[in-house]
Symmetry: D2
Subunit: 338 residues, 4 copies
């Protein structure tokens, strides 16, 4: 296997750390450059002590031309707005981009402005970006120059609902997604809400009715179903490091048994290496530290309940990014991920 | 204040431990007897090391006459079925009973048999027992001889929904209660599901569609609303010691603003010492180790979301039991609870 | 009981929150003023959501004269240096001070400068301050105008070692104190080290050989033993909210049995309402949310091991502060603490 | 790479689960058989839901001949005593054994009887077994037929102390090892001590002076130093899944700087792929889910403090077992471990 050189832009967060960790296992990839907005150009293993002794790489200030001279593909693990500032120059320098931020996920700049509260500064590229969820858009990924890597709540919700919406087995409106996430989903910047003695031994909902993954879920699921999907999305913060659990309530369009619904989901995902449609209710721990998405469903008093889980940092971020990379490079999609 | 002697039957679990802890602060109560099914008649502070040095009391085998000679009121912190075996003899010996189990909560023995899988052996008393939720049944509690102390998920759900159902502001059917509980709610008996390395760093739903608090919630809320209430109740296990958070989705019956709904809830609970209707979303930690029930609500895309929390061991079990005790004794309802 | 008015200066941290919580249970005290360095003069229950509905008090900028007009006693829950800036004016205005910071704990300003890295700006008062550990200095506390409330690691270590040092049963030098603390001990200011996904599921030593509680432990234990005590003190951060556990290794001065050593400790603390010398090894959870100090000891291969635990926020901070307050006011020492 | 078939005997615990997980990544190994003492011959992914979809293997009752027909090497992840009952028949059937229990770690059957409380039933093989710590016994491992895989506390302690003892830089007696472990170290059998609401949010020492890893540590370190080593070993239970941290206090034999000591350790471990001698104090999280052993040291008031960490389930159990397997098969020692 020849070696592809990649860069990680925004090297200090958890998404970046997981990328480093996964790519160190990848036989066909070398992380040749890393950048961070921190002044002192830290070594990667100073930023991430768990990587001590694993790689000899120092962060540099972000420089698109320098990256282009060292890498074919750049992972952007930046906050939103920082990604749309960095992406154009990378693309213009011939670097393909896998963007882990939300900046290129929404197609409509008006929707972006509405939910993110500011104008999108690279709106023309919103149409060009490929939404990097291989289970739904696998064919578009290999040639893509700009991948919008999905959000973590988003992937959980979309993968859980896609089979039933694609088969028109549930109503596309009024879907309730009650989602629970570990704290790493909030990023690595210290803030009182994520200070250990505040969120440990506590659970609460947040961002009720206004979490930014809502329009992303709706956009993709509308694609899948061919009809306008509307969801109520309620995230909760859970005192654990990683993992998302989604409990989803939908209205069936017709009478169908639990067994049939499960069989339909199994058929829908039959060829997927990272989707496990299971009988038993998954726990987040079952998929923690893996690229698996786990789901099952139940019929309760006339509603379909879909119960789904994944690791927010892997299948919800860095893992699916590597899955996208593998597809872009024509490699086995599971490389470095099993 | 004169001293009332009480007994704790079933002294080894978390409900009992919290009762001991609260009653040690109670100026008008003395725990004069404790019983446990364990053979060796352990001291209470052997069962509960946190009570070391706090009380000099040894458990005895359960003996209704002996309890009657020592105590006016018995708290039953027993598993279901054990309570209905112990209660008749206590009542016949003149001991008033506050039963923390589920045995006397449901009025209809057929519903009990349906959800608990066996016949109720003391069915005639189901009609006599008073449901011990002071916010709804305060007037019936002082003279009661048998209190059915509410379940933890139940109290959270009922208190969250009572104002809106009482005022007919939401539809009584199709209510979704997505509830999350700390692990102490599962009791103190070791089991693989609650073994630390299994449930730590993990979250999952369980008992989907068949949790036994469902009929209890429906019975009381049907009372409150005067119509038949039907809920979908989904419990989840959360890696924390204590606390329940309920995220509830209901259909408004008419157009009403969030502010008005909050005002209606505040009015409904205006005189309640342990209900806090708040603007901000409560975290379980806000009410942990207290007898408070916290709630707020939001309107999202045409649905009412009620967000509620309490401490499952206190307001959800031992605290409300002491609140009931205070009412039964004619004391200030908040004694030992603030 | 008449009501004494007190102030809490530095209302936003965990020490202050615990003070509010304890004092709300105190029948003889009213918190009449609170100050915070935050600009917006927040309400206390905005700073501490768990106190919602419990008190109607707004923070004000620190003003010694205003405090003096409202309160007899001020608790200072400030970072070190801030306390020594605030204390002189309070005392001059006739307010007695219970300082929870480290500023007045060390008697020798040179030692302070050495460990804290700057000059003490109120050095003359170092001699006047009374070290507020009632088990050792109970008689000096009632008349004190300035109480230096002990550190949390410090109290654990001192109470664990005092009986053996006082009775000259262990060598005063070469004592190893391996201490483990919950994260609330690090305060409420967000920092990467205490960001949930960093310190959760992790344990490490920190401040090895240079933690500032070292000279405080040595000063007080030298007092107790009449000889110069030297310790090696190693703190560790543990993924839990609260609790300190100290594992202490000392060299016996002569042959004595474990039973005799325990008996000597029990005698030493016989009259203490908050010290529990136990047979079994205490867990931090046994004393969590209480003002108890738990200890036991073992003889292992010629060393004495003392195993001790307390709640860092209560017996290690706010609880002992209230204990000191009770002594200063001539009240039962356990008021609001059991 | 050709494929070696292996068996896992005792498939239900955490050590076994980690073996499955690691071996699924191993290009040269296939798990061809698994056994469990459970009656119902469960599938491996029923025992370990995280392995859903990963392997199609059902446990069978233990049968040495059947294992010999399917596998060349057997990992024994059994409780002690069960291993010494199973090992002889496996060896006699020509199966090489990597035993993760304590049964073959101690050379002297009298020491075994003393610490484990019963007679060793396969004492003659104690001399034959190779202690499977590659950093110390690498040359003996390739030809071994019976590997005694080290204990988790043991490896942490031994690797931390070996360089200093080998170089005679510390006194071999009076070494204090204060060790802290995550709860998975206690195994997967539910017990009150490991019930989530008991050990969560709590820390305590246990087994003080009588933990069975003590003689194992002493035996190997006596080997290393050529003198009789004596330690005081104090384990603590920490509310986290995995990780061991050891804080070790030793007396230097002569004056030497911290930098020199670190340099000596780095030289000692220069060729080791899984030892990281670091400047900064390691956290258990740095090596969690890896096969790395991390250490550093400090000089404090005349004592050497060694601070060391590893993942108890990987470098402390299943990871080192795979490392041993790689050596036994003549493969790159890091296969499946990076």
């Amino acid at each position: 296997m020849s070696t592809t050189k990649v860069a990680i832009v925004g090297a200090s967060g958890y998404g970046a750390r997981e990328l480093f960790r996964l790519l160190l296992k990848h036989p066909g990839v070398q992380v040749a450059a890393a950048s961070s907005r921190q002044d002192e150009s830290p070594r990667v293993d100073e930023l991430h002590p768990s990587l001590a002794g694993r790689l000899d790489l120092r962060c540099e200030p972000f420089d698109p031309a320098a990256i282009a001279s060292k890498a074919e593909i750049a992972f952007l693990a930046l906050p939103h707005t920082a990604s749309m500032a960095a992406t154009p120059a990378l693309l213009e320098n011939g670097v393909r981009v896998i963007d882990l931020s939300a900046d290129y996920r929404l197609r409509d700049p008006a929707v972006y402005a509405d939910w993110y509260g500011h104008v999108h500064t690279d709106a023309p590229r919103l149409g060009e970006a490929v939404y990097g969820l291989p289970e739904l858009y696998r064919k578009r990924i290999p040639p893509a120059r700009l991948i919008a890597n999905p959000g973590c709540y988003t992937s959980t919700s979309i993968l859980a609902l896609a089979p039933l919406l694609a088969e028109k087995l549930i109503e596309p409106r009024g879907i309730i997604i009650d989602a629970k996430s570990g704290v790493s989903g909030a990023g690595r910047s210290p803030r009182l809400d994520y200070h250990f003695p505040e969120c440990n031994e506590s659970l609460a909902a947040y961002g009720v009715g206004r979490h930014r993954h809502t329009p992303e879920i709706e956009q993709i699921l509308s694609d899948v179903s061919g009809r306008e999907v509307e969801v109520i999305f309620t995230p909760h913060l859970v005192p654990m490091d990683r993992g998302i659990f989604a409990t989803i309530y939908a209205q069936p369009t017709r009478s169908v048994s639990e067994a049939d619904l499960l069989a339909i989901c199994r058929t829908y995902y039959a060829a997927e290496p990272f989707v496990r449609v299971r009988d038993r209710i998954p726990a987040t721990k079952d998929s923690a530290f893996t690229n698996f998405f786990d789901m099952t469903l139940r019929l309760v008093r006339g509603k379909v309940l879909v119960l789904a889980a994944l690791d927010n940092l892997i299948k919800g971020a860095a893992g699916v990014a590597v899955q996208n990379l593998n597809l872009m490079l024509g490699l086995d999609e599971t490389t470095a991920l099993l």
